[in-house]
């Protein structure tokens, strides 16, 4: 392959081995790959294509079908803003606009310093807290757009 090789961790390698011949293996394995690399690098997709004997075209068909899978490296802090029904009705669109304006990027872009990226997601499973924003695994509920600058500043200070 012309694309550089990639190193899978021992855990990932054994996960791939375990799932190699099981039905529905591709999505399970892609989840695990994204967990390791924060996205699905091209090299990883090619490695899987070889290991699983699945054409690269099929792998990209799956990766690009699901919003969850990323083909580019997201920011260190992934901001997910929920646009599910409850959050949308509670004004989460304004949270997105506020975040985009503070960071100077639009959805699916990454800030120049690599710190932040924004994803619009559909329901994170806690509609009672609508509107909801997540940064990494941290959930911020019942938000107003006035609270957004403070949250972002906190993560910027962490670096």
């Amino acid at each position: 392959m012309a694309v550089a090789q990639i190193e899978f961790s021992k855990e990932l390698q054994s996960f791939v081995r375990e799932w190699r011949d099981k039905p529905g293996n591709l999505i399970m394995i892609l989840h695990r790959v994204q967990q390791e690399f924060t996205y699905i690098p091209r090299e990883a997709a090619e490695q899987l294509s070889r290991d699983l004997k699945i054409p690269l075209a099929k792998i990209y068909g799956v990766i690009t079908f699901y919003h969850y899978f990323k083909t580019t490296k997201p920011g260190k802090h992934r901001i997910s803003i929920c646009l599910g029904t409850a959050c949308y009705l509670k004004g989460s669109q304004s949270l997105i606009e506020e975040t985009e304006s503070i960071l100077g990027i639009s959805g699916s872009e990454v800030t120049e310093d690599g710190l932040f990226s924004i994803d619009a997601v559909r329901c994170v499973g806690c509609c009672g807290l609508a509107p909801v924003m997540m940064v990494g695994d941290e959930v911020y509920g019942k938000l107003t757009k006035e609270q957004v600058p403070e949250i972002i500043a906190k993560y910027r200070n962490i670096g």
Binding site: M1, A2, L56, Y60, T64
Partner: protein, 589 residues
């Protein structure tokens, strides 16, 4: 059997027959767009919806089997309205540049819009402005024109097992593209063009090079070139379809006249160089087989044919371990190209630099082949300057106002025009094998076969096998066509080799397209198995009518060896008529 009614007409069909096929049995034509006879139904477009009594839903005729007692309505005012809306919705994301479109008048969407009398655009136009991929120099992918019917993806993945393209994204942003959005040329595409032959619209089509040929034909004075042309076996039995003739009509001598009227100075026939290929490849086979029979170079068995450029590309990408088994003989087109700019140039006293060499092929991959590696420049120049597909030639003939059907017949030029029946059958699957066996038998025994017909290797069955006995030794051959059928043959060879067992076959013919070149990606649109059968029948009738039916009987083949090439497999023949292969990556970027 299932008994049912379609528009009140009783119909009896085998269980599992779809409503679409059942309707055709009683002369009812349900419109189709994503559906194609070669492919499994995919139910993407919705144009074939029908009503079934006591069922509140409209059903898609392409994927719904007819059931016992069903009463189907295929046409009523409401159904017509729904179908029209389907077309209007598709058109809302489709550019309106029909007049500039390569599929103008051969577009299935355009035909439907015309039949349904679409006159307005009730929906907001939403075009996507995606980049056009021109990277392969054979095929052009214009995703803006794509109606996402999925035919090309199914062809590329299921029929051809190439996996060059896939649906990327979802919903409104779904598009057809290679993995990771690389260009076609940087991915596994083998340029077979079956995607273009199955695309109902102008989303994938051949690179049009007619202008380059017109320019060369027009050049005068200092810049003038001697324009030499060759036509492939499969072109002669399909070109007529573009002029209202039945598939399989053999037009060889009318095509020669048409080419002269277009302005070509010299007309040769690829069938001649197919005969030449048989001498080279047949000799190669006999040598390898004789070695094999005496226990030497066992790893060089089986010999695998290399006439098909899409197959060469596929082998270099997917089966590079078989390179030693590949015939080193060039394709007939490249042999002819090389002979034109060396042997003929010398004989006709024309400077090879002043020759413009054109090949008319049923194939899009041939465009790529003509620049494949340095062996395609064996004369010191580019051996074949431009390759035109059958479709492009049809356009040139129409532009020139040539009444092809009523044209007087002419002969090809000597010495690389006259051909044998063995040369002409190269155009159909099994033909190269049959032609090779006819001559291999002679090369070993110095006797001719009593019956030259090897019907076992003919026809549309995906993999065909045959055995013949030459001097008491059994020769086992296999023929595969349609790229997706190749894997099982080669896997069996790989396995036998790995296990140290005798190879299952000694000689294998592979053609990338269904039916061989007669079903090539550059042939007139609308090939179904019925059309392929007719084209094949044309090929075999041409064979039967030939004075000579074995390549080694072609008197002019004798002449070129005597005057120029010395003997099959000579040093000179190797320089001009053979080539090299190397492993290719599936993805370059």
């Amino acid at each position: 059997m299932v008994n049912a009614k379609i528009n009140g007409i009783p119909v009896q069909v085998a269980e599992g027959t779809t409503i679409l096929d059942a309707a055709e049995k009683v002369n009812v034509r349900i419109p189709k767009l994503c559906y194609n006879d070669d492919l499994p139904a995919w139910a993407a477009c919705g144009i074939c919806i029908v009503k079934v009594e006591r069922n509140p839903k409209m059903l898609r005729a392409c994927c719904t089997p007819l059931e016992e007692g069903m009463s189907v309505i295929t046409h009523d005012p409401e159904i017509v309205q729904v179908r029209k809306t389907v077309i209007e919705l598709i058109l809302s994301t489709h550019p309106d540049d029909c007049l500039q479109c390569p599929r103008n008048q051969s577009c299935e969407l355009q035909t439907l819009a015309s039949e349904f009398g679409v006159r307005e655009q009730p929906f907001e136009k939403r075009l996507r402005d995606l980049p056009i991929d021109t990277s392969t120099k054979s095929l052009i992918l214009n995703p803006d024109k794509c109606i996402r019917c999925g035919r090309c993806v199914t062809v590329c993945q299921q029929m051809q097992n190439v996996w060059a393209i896939e649906f990327l994204g979802r919903g409104e942003s779904t598009r057809i593209a290679p993995a990771a959005d690389v260009s076609l040329a940087d991915g596994p595409c083998i340029k077979c063009g079956q995607c273009s032959a199955h695309c109902p619209v102008g989303a994938i089509y051949e690179l049009d090079q007619t202008k380059e040929v017109w320019d060369a034909l027009m050049k005068g004075g200092e810049e003038a070139k001697t324009c030499v042309v060759q036509i492939a076996p499969a072109v002669r039995v399909a070109l007529g379809e573009e002029f209202g003739l039945k598939p399989g009509t053999v037009l060889t001598k009318k095509i020669y006249s048409a080419l002269r009227r277009l302005g070509f100075d010299t007309v040769f026939d690829t069938n001649f160089s197919a005969d030449l290929t048989i001498l080279e490849e047949g000799t190669e086979f006999v040598k390898r087989f004789t070695d094999f029979a005496s226990g030497n170079n066992k790893e060089l068995m089986p010999l695998i044919t290399s006439c098909c450029p899409a197959w060469v590309d596929y082998m270099e990408k997917y089966y590079a371990d078989m390179i030693p088994n590949f015939s080193t003989a060039k394709s007939p087109m490249q042999m002819m190209g090389s002979m034109i700019k060396t042997y003929w140039a010398e004989k006709a006293k024309v400077d090879p630099k002043k020759i413009f060499s054109v090949a008319i092929m049923p194939c899009t991959a041939k465009k790529w082949e003509s620049g494949r590696n340095k062996d395609m420049f064996s004369s010191g120049e580019r051996d074949v300057d431009v390759v035109l597909t059958t479709r492009e030639l049809a356009r040139m003939i129409k532009q020139a106002g040539i009444d092809l059907v009523n044209l007087p017949e002419e002969e090809a030029d000597s010495p690389m025009g006259p051909y044998t029946g063995a040369g002409t059958i190269f155009g159909a699957t099994g033909g190269v094998m049959e032609a090779a066996l006819r001559s291999a038998y002679y090369l070993v025994t110095k006797e001719d076969l009593k019956d030259v017909n090897f019907t076992g290797v003919r026809g549309l069955s995906g993999i065909k096998e045959a055995r013949i006995h030459i001097k008491g030794i059994e020769v086992r051959v296999a023929v595969a066509h349609q790229m997706g059928n190749i894997a099982s043959v080669l896997e069996e060879v790989r396995k036998a080799k790995a296990d140290g067992k005798d190879v299952p076959w000694h000689f294998i013919e592979v053609m990338a397209c269904r039916g061989g070149c007669i079903g090539g990606g550059g042939q007139p649109y609308g090939a179904t198995d019925a059309v392929r059968q007719q084209r094949m029948a044309g090929i075999y009738s041409d064979d039967e009518k030939s004075t000579y039916r074995c390549s080694h009987h072609n008197p002019f083949i004798g002449t070129v060896y005597k005057e120029f090439l010395e003997q099959p497999g000579s040093h000179k023949a190797h320089q001009l008529l053979h080539t090299h292969y190397r492993k290719l990556e599936l993805y370059n970027k």
